[in-house]
Symmetry: none
Subunit: 132 residues, 4 copies
Amino acid sequence: MTAQACRFFLDTKSGVPVYRQIIDQVLVAVASGSLNPGDQLPTVRQLAVDLSVNPNTVLRAYKELEIRGFLSTQQGSGTFISHAPEVPVDEAKRQERLTQIVAQFVARAAGEGFSVRELAERIGEMIAEHRQ
Amino acid sequence: MTAQACRFFLDTKSGVPVYRQIIDQVLVAVASGSLNPGDQLPTVRQLAVDLSVNPNTVLRAYKELEIRGFLSTQQGSGTFISHAPEVPVDEAKRQERLTQIVAQFVARAAGEGFSVRELAERIGEMIAEHRQ
Amino acid sequence: MTAQACRFFLDTKSGVPVYRQIIDQVLVAVASGSLNPGDQLPTVRQLAVDLSVNPNTVLRAYKELEIRGFLSTQQGSGTFISHAPEVPVDEAKRQERLTQIVAQFVARAAGEGFSVRELAERIGEMIAEHRQ
Amino acid sequence: MTAQACRFFLDTKSGVPVYRQIIDQVLVAVASGSLNPGDQLPTVRQLAVDLSVNPNTVLRAYKELEIRGFLSTQQGSGTFISHAPEVPVDEAKRQERLTQIVAQFVARAAGEGFSVRELAERIGEMIAEHRQ
DNA sequence: GTGGTCTAGACCACG
DNA sequence: GTGGTCTAGACCACT
């Protein structure tokens, strides 16, 4: 299984360093089960092209993940998720992350003139539609 | 009226620049109704002390918000939420944009393992909080 | 393409903040066609040296222009004139506003003893200069 | 003769200190003959109200002008233009000032999306109208 | 007391 | 090399 299930994206306006966003997304994917031990990650060059960033930036992210033990690089074949990485789904951290992404989203939307109420209503509609 | 209803806090581990966190929190407060036109924000120096950051960092956040039209500063007396001129925009396009950003947000959050329901609840809490 | 066509200078006796003078000169260059979308501005450090000011002062000017949408910066490569999204506005209101600001300007200049003809000539020179 | 012929105005967005703007306007009025020796200036309080600034700000401007010998304050009767103030109309300075106000105007207009060409045309029209 | 401007310099992110 | 963030601190403008 490849990492196709895991889509990377960047928020260049968030102020969060690109390499940090890549690291976070790999960690989240592992924690949520989107990526499992043995899964292959995109190549450095491929991801660099996909995200329109310099390969060095991707390399740095992969390097840090490797140092922290989440990835293992195998020369000539690619980069893979390590076996048995200790990433228990910490509910407290999960809630913290939820708060963070919601707050950032609301802030961004507010900057475009949308109120929290409008956002809440639109998301409510999505839930309703989903039920049908 | 003071901004007592609006508590600032920093997440130093998130990688988000301090000045960006301040901007986001002001935007959220405005969008949720915690801060209204005419309300005074904490003084630059006071907020700098509260957050344990340099006054220039707070100033920079306030300055960006002023340029973007959310705040108006009055030398010698303080910084206040603007009485927005509110450029009337095409409501159809606005709704379209709202749908777009909400859908994008939900998709990304789903990628991190959050359900639409969780997102809706957290946003609902934001509205509830400011009513207190 | 570089910004060689655009010379920066400071008037330290005018009382106008340095960062403001930089902003104004970029705006004028854009309005007169000396700088066009995609053109690169001098680097922060280079302009700081040229004007004998602190790099942070230049950075601040560039940052404000970026927030206002006139510049776009790309970390590691430089600062460029934006390809403006150009929000389409009501042309009638735009012309009205143009009349308003021109009339106001002429009135104030007259109060300082300048004739409309002198003003017209000086603005004409601005257009001529950038053609060279 | 009172100073009614001399209208004060402030450009709060120019970044130029208010007290500096007041000083400049008095000097210009004297140099251009709008104000003559013996003419009375508005009272500190009146001008403060007119410009919506703190009386201390006006006071500071008048104080500096008095120190420089352009004004003389007569307790109980008001503030007047001094006799024989040495303000020869220096053509070089005049041209410098012309450049400055035109540049600031163009920059401001550019910030609102007007090109130099549009400004030139509109002013040209004003000249044509004036001739009729 | 308020905010505003500027300097000097450290350290980070990115190409 | 590029720009970005932050600190520390001086001095100015204004209420």
